[in-house]
């Protein structure tokens, strides 16, 4: 016999779908089927039960091989490298729950760490822009129920947030949007003809890296002022047309992603996009929302916000919180050799940082808390596997619009495996012992 767990929250991306159904065996041990998830979410759930899953911590030996160690030994190693380091980096925090993030903060305070999360390579530049100009935004339900002009700028939800368009932004029939996608106009700005662009009403195939100019041109077009013939590869007629489309709607929403956060201009691109949104509010209702990547990077930013006052790149090494992107951000710290130990939890910098940073991780005392085998575990000295949040343990996660949803436990973790929170609590206790507090 089987049981179906409903209202399951998917722990993959910032879309944080909470309508999944997971079929488990009657004894609650086997995960059999996943319904309603996208391909990536389904894979996450189903793969969690892979037979080749690593279930015990392991330590790199001199000869390069791995040796299995106990959780106690892993805790000891972790506590030692963190307390002995002058300035350890504690990075990741995005694929885990808020409870674990909170314990991590406590550890960071005791050891004087730099706390950084995956926003540093994702929407960190957006956070910087928000600190300059603010952000008119809304929840995804406002989009579903009201938005009739949807812009995807520098993002490709068909690939990165697969159910976004069907759950929130293009297809649903909401309270004031009973006509579904036929009542909406969709604009995509992307240097490639992405799968998202293919279903758009308008695709502006922008010259890569020229988003700032095009955003600025939109602001000029809103005012009906003069534009050069071509901006960022887009003819001015098209720009005026899109400006008019956006102004003429009842509710415009701009979703944006790495196309603007990671291209040159970076935070200035986002600043310009937010300025476009602000300007639009003179004519109609408009909002803007970042397409957050990991399912709880937003939560990490929230937890650090209320505990330290900053959403990422939080330097606690002097005993109080400091924040200065470019100085306190992970890649800069690694490149300049300014950290002397690394602790990674809930992310994969080995795969997603530039290689020059990864090399630095390899050279330092390092721990990766991670259920999978990844390029990060490959370059760290100790690998601690833990339960999957949202599958084997619950806990709070924040969606891309900052809505907090409690993830569910669907199956038991492998025998004897710790959760992030448990591991961190043990490390915290050991750190306090070592420090004599």
């Amino acid at each position: 016999m089987t049981k179906t767990v409903t209202d399951v929250v998917c722990p993959f991306c910032g879309t944080l779908c909470d309508d999944l159904e997971v079929v488990v065996s009657d004894d609650g041990k086997e995960l059999l089927e996943v319904y309603n998830a996208c391909a990536i979410g389904a894979e996450k759930f189903l793969h969690s039960q892979a037979k080749d899953r690593i279930t015990r911590p392991r330590m790199r030996q001199e000869d390069g091989s791995w040796k299995e160690i106990s959780y106690d030994e892993a805790i000891e190693y972790t506590a030692r490298i963190l307390t002995e380091a002058k300035k350890p980096l504690m990075y990741g925090w995005s694929s885990t729950n808020c409870e674990a993030q909170s314990v991590g903060s406590e550890i960071g305070e005791y050891v004087g760490a730099v706390m950084d999360n995956t926003a540093t390579v994702c929407h960190g530049t957006s956070l910087i822009a928000v600190q300059d100009i603010g952000i008119p935004s809304c929840t995804l339900g406002e989009v579903k129920n009201r938005a009739d002009r949807i812009v995807f700028w520098g993002c490709n939800p068909a690939h990165a947030h697969p159910r976004h368009m069907s759950r929130y932004s293009i297809f649903p029939r909401g309270f004031f949007t009973g006509k579904g996608h036929t009542g909406r106009k969709m604009v995509v700005v992307d240097p490639r003809v992405t799968d998202t662009a293919r279903i758009a009403d308008v695709h502006l195939q922008i010259e890569q890296g020229r988003d700032y100019e095009l955003l600025d041109a939109l602001r000029v077009a809103f005012k009906g002022e003069q534009l050069p013939d071509v901006v960022a590869g887009i003819p001015k007629e098209k720009i005026y047309e899109v400006a008019e489309t956006l102004k003429s709607g009842r509710f415009t929403i701009i979703f944006f992603g790495m196309g603007v956060t990671q291209s040159l201009g970076k935070n200035h691109n986002i600043d310009a996009a937010i300025a476009v949104t602000r300007d639009l509010n003179e004519y109609t209702k408009a909002a803007i929302m970042p397409m957050r990547g990991h399912y709880n990077v937003t939560g990490s930013g929230q937890v650090w916000g209320w505990q330290f006052g900053f959403p990422f790149a939080v330097d606690l090494s002097r005993g109080f919180a400091r924040y200065n992107p470019g100085e306190t951000t992970s890649n800069d710290l690694l490149r300049r050799g300014e950290v002397d130990a690394i602790f990674v939890l809930g992310s994969d910098p080995g795969a997603h940082f530039p290689f020059s940073s990864v090399k630095k991780i390899y050279d330092l005392p390092s721990v990766a808390v991670e259920p999978h085998e990844t390029p990060t575990t490959e370059v760290c000295k100790v690998h601690v596997p833990v339960a999957f949040v949202g599958v084997e343990v619950g806990g709070c996660a924040y969606r891309m619009d900052n809505v907090p949803i409690e993830t569910r436990k669907v199956v038991e973790p492998p025998e004897g495996m710790m959760t992030d929170e448990e591991f961190l609590r043990h490390v915290l206790a050991r750190v306090k012992e070592i420090k004599g507090v």
């Binding site: 952000i135 809304c138 929840t139 995804l140 579903k144 929230q302 916000g305 006052g309």
Partner: protein, 569 residues
């Protein structure tokens, strides 16, 4: 549990009616007890010092999504004021939007022990609870917002009070909320389309209900349920010259309604931060104080309570569920603007603001708040707040005490205004020589708010049986003192007890306490209609499922204090 005896202090307690007499206060098992009930107490020498119950803040924005927007989008708010942890204290930061850790400590240092989070968007309730959980020492509760909620708009359009009450009861339980909060009724739903409701008869787009209907309906539903607190409102038209008429119109919606609550409150409407709603004139050029008109009404209608929203003349961060107001403000001062509309429920906006004594309007605002307090006939119905952080950070409460207690201090500030003459001409403050005493302050900051919140049986006073929330300040009310001594003493409690645990000893924080989250569980008769409406709206319009909406789980509310209300008659 340790017994304490606080000896020989000058006690100010409106619950017992003690007006500065020397008296002893005994603490045992977490509550205040008769002095002969303690056998072997630790003696706290309070000779020459002031003793009061722990402060009760009826309205402050200290926990939740818009507060955190304020923190995250203002790194500059942490400049030069972060503090390393030491001893029992964790690191702290932030001036106008302190971190939750600092919030708990700063309130404790002022002798406050209970703080109500002024507005909680229901969809974000978990966030509010996570922040309250991480705020040490002080008991807290949060007010979910109802004034722009689609269920409420639809029920009240058809005057379905019982349904509205059933929904309120359901939502309070789902969000672990404390009271019915109303912000810019109807206007924030209009703002979801970029519009607003500027007076109480302006209909809400599509829903076609007026703010007046919303407010009246919610008052009725609140009394139907008999909740501990009354409906708590931030009326339409905040911040605009001439808005005092909207305020009086709003007040009048409560006329003839008596409270039906066994929790001891006498009011059916609490209007918050009335300073922002007391403007005459019709432009910034001729804006003037109408605090006198406002207080004429408040003084003669005992079923209303208000709080000040006192401007403190600081650089601060405004944040409110009055979304359209914040858009208006950013157009005025061109500072960064954040906005967050919430599906089916509410919205919010955040904009930094600098209240400069060199700006005429800011100075007028400063006068108005103080006028409201000084013109009050009944300090048990007029509470001291800054609508933190909107009119200023809550750490300025002792400074406001100084202004209320010392005409000299007020005159000093008035003299320092760049446009003093214009300010004086537009306000009444310069002509008021009343100075409040500590008893009246205790009414405005302890006994009054506790009673209005329906917590009179729990806190706000020093009567035996009440929670042992007691503060001792190094201030001799009979000795000679300079006005600044008031601010200094009440910013730095010498001792503080919370539920009988010593939190501050000799000015040092020695415990992180065991804070409680207060919420109200109002039981109503089963209402299949409302449950069906709820199910349907979640299925069709919300973006979370019904089963994922309710705040449940020990990690959100680790130490709940549930107030049961039986509305099933």
């Amino acid at each position: 549990m340790t017994e304490y005896l606080i000896k020989n202090g000058f006690v100010f307690d409106p619950v017992l009616g003690i007006k500065g007499d020397v008296a002893d206060i005994a603490i045992k098992d977490g509550v205040v007890v008769e002095t002969n009930a303690v056998k072997n107490p630790k003696i706290i020498d309070a000779a020459g010092k002031t003793v009061m119950a722990g402060g009760v803040d009826v309205h402050a924005h200290v926990a939740g999504p818009k507060v955190n927007i304020g923190r995250n989008f203002r790194p500059e708010d942490k400049l030069f004021n972060t503090r390393p942890g030491r001893g029992i204290e964790r690191m702290q930061g932030g001036f106008s939007v302190p971190t939750t850790i600092r919030t708990g400590y700063n309130y404790a240092r002022m002798g406050y022990t209970t703080v109500m989070e002024a507005a909680m968007p229901p969809l974000y309730a978990r966030h509010t609870h996570e922040e309250m959980r991480d705020t040490p020492i002080i008991d807290q509760g949060a007010f979910p917002v109802f004034g722009n909620n689609w269920f409420v708009l639809e029920y009240l359009k058809n005057n379905e009070i019982e349904n509205a009450a059933a929904y309120i009861s359901w939502l309070l339980r789902a969000t672990k909320g404390y009271a019915v909060k109303v912000v810019n009724p109807g206007g924030t739903e209009a703002w979801a389309w970029g519009l607003n409701c500027e007076n109480i008869h302006d209909p809400v787009p599509y829903f076609d209900i007026t703010p007046a209907q919303i407010v009246k309906g919610l008052i009725e539903a609140n009394e139907y349920l008999g909740l501990p607190h009354s409906m708590h409102i931030h009326a339409n038209n905040l911040g605009n010259p001439g808005n005092y008429t909207t305020t009086l119109d709003t007040f009048k919606l409560s006329e003839g309604v008596r409270p039906k609550s066994r929790f001891g409150r006498d009011q059916v409407m609490h209007h918050t931060h009335v300073q922002f709603h007391s403007y005459g004139g019709d432009s910034w050029a001729n804006v003037e104080s109408k605090a006198d008109k406002i207080m004429d009404y408040v003084n003669s209608h005992d079923n209303i309570t208000i709080d000040l929203g006192q401007v403190t003349l600081d650089e601060t961060t405004t944040m409110t569920a009055d979304g359209p107001f914040e858009h208006h403000l950013t157009a005025l001062n061109h500072l960064k603007w954040a906005n967050a509309d919430v599906e089916l429920e509410t919205g919010s906006g955040v904009v930094p603001y600098i209240y400069s004594p060199n700006i005429k309007v800011c100075a007028i605002q400063w006068c108005i708040g103080l006028e409201l307090a000084l013109l009050a006939k009944d300090p048990m119905r007029v509470f001291m707040t800054t609508d933190h952080p909107n009119a200023g950070p809550f750490i300025r409460y002792p400074r406001i005490m100084k202004w209320l207690m010392s005409q000299e201090a007020r005159e000093q500030q008035i003299d320092a205004f760049k446009h003093k003459d214009k300010v004086v001409a537009a306000t009444h403050l310069a002509g008021i020589d009343r100075e409040l005493d500590l008893y009246e302050i205790a009414q405005m900051t302890r006994a009054g708010p506790a009673k209005a919140l329906g917590l009179g049986e729990m806190c706000g006073g020093l009567a035996p049986g009440l929670a042992a929330d007691v503060a001792v300040f190094d201030f001799n009310p009979n000795g000679p003192y300079a006005p600044d001594d008031i601010e200094k003493a009440f910013s730095n409690a010498e001792h503080l007890f919370k539920t009988g645990v010593q939190i501050i000893n000799d000015h040092d924080i020695v415990s992180n306490g065991n804070k409680r989250t207060l919420w109200v569980n109002a039981r109503v008769n089963e209402n299949p209609q409302v449950m069906r409406d709820v199910k349907e709206k979640f299925l069709r319009y919300y973006t979370v499922t019904l089963n994922n909406y309710e705040v449940s789980g020990h990690h959100y509310v680790p130490n709940p204090y549930v107030i049961e209300v039986d509305a099933t008659q």
